[in-house]
Subunit: 324 residues, 2 copies
């Protein structure tokens, strides 16, 4: 760590996931100077989690000039509400109900603190430091265990009336379709295009086609990674899993384009490792469902940020002087 | 017309529809001081249309203190592009291709001129003078011959990267569903929830149920007005026509809510004369398809502006100092 990196103001970016929490110290050039993490799911009480986080982060705060040298703490967290600073009814976190997370963090860390949901944070990171630099209108879709989204319109994140805008994973792409394992809704984008959804599709398809390579794996090893391995070896059923997923995703993206007419849609998360297996059918079905004036205009691209850093960068962007 | 009304600055609001064009002089209190109109479809050349419009409007410009007393001309027009001032590929207008409408108007009228699509203009009117006063996040859905939309997010109209955002009538609510008579898309909201779509639904349903009152009308008299007349008399098939329409509309609205999380959705246009026959099923199916954090929050209301004035008011709002 050079002295140059230690000079200048920094921010603390924190990405709280259902299983793991990652944090980092980020400077104004978007460099992650330090990184660390802890398990989220080991703490049944949010107070204990914040104490443990503080103990891990405190040495870094000291190292980078104490709290007064920090622009603040930016936090990406499932169901984090930008306006109220609360986490509300987060299905994937151990802490239930409405939690005044931002307020609790502010008291503990003695710094300004801003929260938003994890996908919004990723979109901000992409706008400041990634593939969306210079863009005023784009949509970020995160394809992980779930499907999240962050929408930027006219240079600002769309938070909506209550701070919860951009739950595109829960939009319905096939009325009466696949039942969601957690929300109970029928035919949501998340039910098809998340890693969880892809595994469900793969298990159904391999049962129908005994000759598929997918049948060489035990049930619990079927995930988007193993489907990709089979697809790259030419297994037509594995390829069809991604094609079907891309069709559902593309149909959903077409609707999103006709809503906010973005310059680009950025795809992010573990699922995009499938590359063209997912990108090509997604683009085909997006274009096919667009009203003519939108066709062949919208860039469909993968995130440029290293996945490990993107969440931290995005969270830090909440307090690093990004447009909010 | 009192001298008070003649004092103060005014704007010219123009609503260009496929059949008729309406215009009015509007003051800063949102009062339509004068109104007039002409047929749109009588002019095969856009130049001739602008000349005819000018001849009709000129006496009003003189009466209200000449061009220098006007904030400008605001125009709501199908496929009107806010950024470029052009009309592009408007299916319902006699003039094809890309037309530099704003520029042509500016030269003829010697006033600043701003265009946007008709639904965006209606949304602005509603925000300045109607049911959306004080709201920063709402969606306006116009249910007429077609289905249009104007989206306001964080106090501003969402224009998108290219100025064409908010084509919600063309979003797909039922993949592989009813083919659109003009765009050829399958299962768009417009194919079900427009007046045209309602007539199609009514004709199908009355063919299946010979006892329906709807069978007392000749084919070309089946429209949302006659369906309403039968519904109010208790005809179960006519009621089912609106229920089915409301279901499709409600499912679409749920997706829109999960996109931008608006405070309210405003419904506007001829179809809303069906009142609770359409409103109740729409609300039911919207709520049913929402992710829990959005439930029972979004107001679903009818426009408060007189239909004849709303388009003119909305168009004038483009230049009357409204946030753009």
């Amino acid at each position: 760590m050079s002295l140059t990196n230690l000079s200048g103001r920094v921010a603390l970016g924190i990405d709280v996931g259902g299983t793991n929490t990652k944090f980092g110290v980020v400077n104004h050039r978007g460099e992650v100077l330090e990184k660390g993490g802890l398990r989220t799911d080991e703490y049944n009480k949010v107070e204990d989690f914040i104490d443990a986080l503080y103990n891990k982060v405190y040495p870094l705060i000291e190292k980078y000039g104490a709290a007064e040298n920090f622009d603040g703490i930016g936090i990406g967290i499932p169901n984090g509400n930008y306006y109220s600073g609360t986490i509300e009814q987060a299905a994937n976190l151990p802490w239930k109900g409405v939690i005044p997370f931002s307020e609790m963090m502010k008291i503990k860390f003695k710094m300004p603190c801003t929260v938003t949901n994890d996908a919004n944070a990723a979109a901000l990171g992409e706008m400041l430091f990634g593939a969306a630099r210079g863009m005023k209108d784009f949509i970020m879709i995160t394809l992980g265990t779930g499907v999240g989204s962050g929408i930027v319109s006219n240079g600002s994140l769309v938070y909506g009336h209550d701070g919860f805008a951009g739950e595109l994973g829960h939009t319905i792409v096939k009325p009466g379709g696949r039942k969601h394992w957690s929300t109970g809704s029928e035919g949501s984008l998340e039910a098809y295009a998340s890693a969880t959804g892809i595994a469900i599709t793969a298990k159904k398809m391999r049962a129908e086609f005994p000759s598929s390579m997918l049948n060489q794996f035990p049930e619990d090893a079927i995930n988007s990674k193993t489907v990709y391995e089979c697809a790259i070896k030419g297994d037509p059923i594995a390829i069809e899993v991604f094609r079907y997923t891309g069709q559902k995703l593309g149909e959903a993206l077409a609707n999103f384009v006709m809503f906010s007419s973005p310059e680009a849609i950025l795809l992010f998360g573990g699922v995009i490792k499938a590359g063209d297996f997912i990108l090509k059918p997604t683009k085909l079905h997006m274009e096919r469902n667009l009203f003519p004036i939108f066709r062949n205009k919208v860039k469909l691209v993968f995130s440029e940020l290293a996945e490990a850093d993107a969440a931290i960068l995005g969270a830090s962007a909440l307090v690093l002087g990004a447009k909010k």
